[in-house]
């Protein structure tokens, strides 16, 4: 069974930009171990010949088009904004 250490859960929460309470961390350590224990059977699948390529690139023409959404509507939900920009705290 895969074990998830306390340090690992701290690191994952940090990577995911998600603050977790000590209770949540304990619960998710347990759940992750259980779920990973269940899903690790996928590792037994050997390489298969692909029936057909699953992915292809879809590109659109490099052409300016009218957007379906207006900029002011898209910005309307931002908690802090100024002069048509979204404002964030200084990071330096």
């Amino acid at each position: 069974m895969t074990k998830i250490s306390k340090q690992e859960i701290d690191h994952l929460a940090q990577l995911a930009r998600l603050e977790l309470s000590p209770a949540e961390k304990a619960l998710y350590r347990q759940h992750l171990a259980e779920i990973l224990g269940y899903v690790e059977k996928v590792q037994k699948v050997k390489d298969t010949e692909k029936t057909k390529p699953a992915l292809k690139n879809v590109v659109s023409a490099d052409k300016v088009e009218e957007s379906k959404a207006k900029a002011e509507d898209l910005l309307a939900g931002a908690p802090e904004k100024q002069d048509g920009y979204i404002k964030v705290r200084a990071i330096l």
């Binding site: 994952l12 949540e24 998710y28 992750l32 990973l36 899903v39 996928v42 298969t48 705290r89």
Partner: protein
């Protein structure tokens, strides 16, 4: 009036038996009276009445937009209707106003559809019971102590209790089919790419698909006709014309088949109601070989339906799907959290949605604080669990062992399905291994909750279409006789929605 099917409503509006306004008022009133079920998050009273009035005036002057003009529908609350709140069942979007229409909504508006309201769902569609909704659980109309299934539980419950004649949902691993099964209605998950997902709030992008709920197979086929088609706003959407099966099987001309066009355009290439009366004579059906240790009556009904289909001339052979299903579920619970962890990154307390910035409860010192605390406060337990799990399977050192292995498994699963479809037209399974479970029964145990999706999840992994059709009802142990619906799942080849609806319609006739 409100127990009418979509087809009856179309005919009634056409024949002048009632107006769209009368109909819309009836449904809104019924929805208001049945608030206890909690099937709607938001009722769109004003919009709906306005749309209904406009539709009635169009009809008076003989200028209806389509057969659906004036028909009321419910919409799952992860599909955006411009100018109205869209929550995806989450606190983080509690006050979010949709800035544009989803492409399906645009298509249905052009068809003259009336939108009754936005239905309840598991938070960001993550769940199988509608219990993870920030707005509280929806109750199953057949037994209010039980779940309606999920994640589109609100849409399924609304249709089952006649609070809407039909509805839209989304399905990533069974989120249309399983609630349809639990609530005793028809739910269709189209082939991946059939319906544009532009304006659908993303959960797991390689699996998500929009589809219809209806009271009958015909109703879902009618609704599907109006939402399929390629959309330049969704690069994964497919052309309207069928690729894997030729137009001759539907008796259409080549000229018809070559017409593509935008979703809901004047003429889509295919009429999904075309095969509904063809029966199952001569069809080759693969059915799940299963003898579960415990059966609540689901498998009994499943086998009864099989026998009835055989009597109608179908050739039914049992196929062992155990390894395929088991592996697909494992594969699903790697791919989904991985894609979830990436898709959920957009909820950051900066661009839109809940933010701690203006919440006096929090002391914010840095940009990082805004991210950490807005997400902690705005997202629920299942979403957080999947973000953490997804971050784990994508992180360096584990990526190959989990995510890459899951992609390999996905190829293998697709190949196995393809092999089955070389010999058979459709595959039948129960939609869910059990009938609707009790509220809170599985909420604390995620793995058990995940296992309830064993028959539906593999279909999304393989990008196939499948429909859940009511097959009968069973009673809970010691409870009321025969009030809990059992759904039968019909799985088809890619783009072969016509065939699964054909078999579904026969199940409806013989059950």
């Amino acid at each position: 009036m409100s127990s009418l099917t979509l087809k009856q409503i179309i005919d009634g509006l056409k024949g002048g038996s009632f107006t769209s306004l009368q109909l819309t008022k009836d449904y809104l009133e019924a929805a208001d009276k049945n608030k206890d079920l909690n099937s709607y998050i938001t009722l769109l009273d004003r919009l709906a009445l306005q749309q209904a009035q406009k539709s009635d005036s169009r009809r008076k002057t003989g200028k209806t937009l389509s057969e659906l003009d004036g028909v009321p529908l419910a919409v799952k609350d992860n599909i955006m209707i411009s100018g109205y709140r869209t929550t995806a069942g989450s606190k983080i979007l509690e006050d979010f106003t949709a800035p544009y229409d989803a492409s399906v909504i645009e298509a249905l508006k052009k068809a003259g559809v009336v939108f009754l309201g936005k239905t309840n769902m598991d938070e960001f569609a993550m769940g199988s019971s509608t219990e993870t909704s920030f707005f509280g659980p929806t109750k199953n109309p057949h037994d209010t102590e039980r779940v309606p299934g999920g994640s589109s539980g609100g849409s399924a419950a609304a249709v089952a209790s006649h609070l809407a004649p039909a509805a839209l949902g989304s399905d990533t691993g069974g989120s249309i089919r399983q609630p349809a099964s639990f609530c005793g209605v028809v739910g269709l998950k189209p082939t991946y790419g059939r319906v544009s997902r532009y304006g659908l709030i993303a959960m797991a992008s390689s699996l998500d698909q929009i589809g219809p709920f209806g009271q009958t197979v015909e109703d879902t086929a009618i609704l599907l006709n109006h939402i399929v088609g390629q959309d330049k706003m969704d690069s994964t959407s497919l052309p309207a014309s069928p690729v894997s099966f030729g137009p001759s099987r539907l008796g259409r001309s080549e000229a018809d088949a070559s017409q593509g066009g935008p979703p809901g355009g004047p003429k889509t290439a295919e009429d999904f109601t075309g095969l509904l009366d063809k029966g199952v004579k001569g069809l080759k059906i693969a059915c799940l070989k299963a003898q579960p240790e415990k059966d609540d009556g689901t498998f009994k009904i499943f086998h009864q339906i099989i026998e009835k289909l055989k009597k109608q001339g179908a050739e039914v052979i049992e196929v062992d799907l155990d390894k395929l299903l088991d592996l697909a579920l494992a594969c699903y619970y790697i791919i989904v959290p991985a894609e979830v962890s990436s898709n959920m990154a957009r909820y950051d307390g900066i661009k839109y949605g809940y933010s701690v910035i203006h919440d006096s409860k929090f002391k914010i010192h840095s940009l990082l604080d805004v991210y950490l605390k807005s997400r902690a406060e705005g997202l629920g337990a299942e979403v957080k669990r999947r973000i953490i799990l997804g971050t784990y399977v994508l992180s360096s050192g584990y990526y190959d062992a989990y995510y890459k292995s899951a992609q390999k498994a996905r190829d293998w699963i697709k190949g196995e399905f393809a092999k089955i479809f070389e010999k058979y037209d459709v595959i039948l399974t129960p939609t869910s291994p059990t009938v609707a479970f009790k509220l809170k029964e599985k909420l604390a145990d995620p793995l058990t909750m995940y296992l309830s999706d064993i028959f539906t999840v593999p279909i999304n992994i393989a990008s196939l279409p499948a429909v859940s059709v009511p097959g009968g009802k069973v009673g809970p142990p010691g409870g009321e006789a025969g009030n809990l619906p059992v759904g039968i799942q019909v799985i088809g080849r890619e783009l072969d929605e016509g065939k699964i609806l054909q078999v579904g319609a026969e199940i409806e006739r013989v059950r």
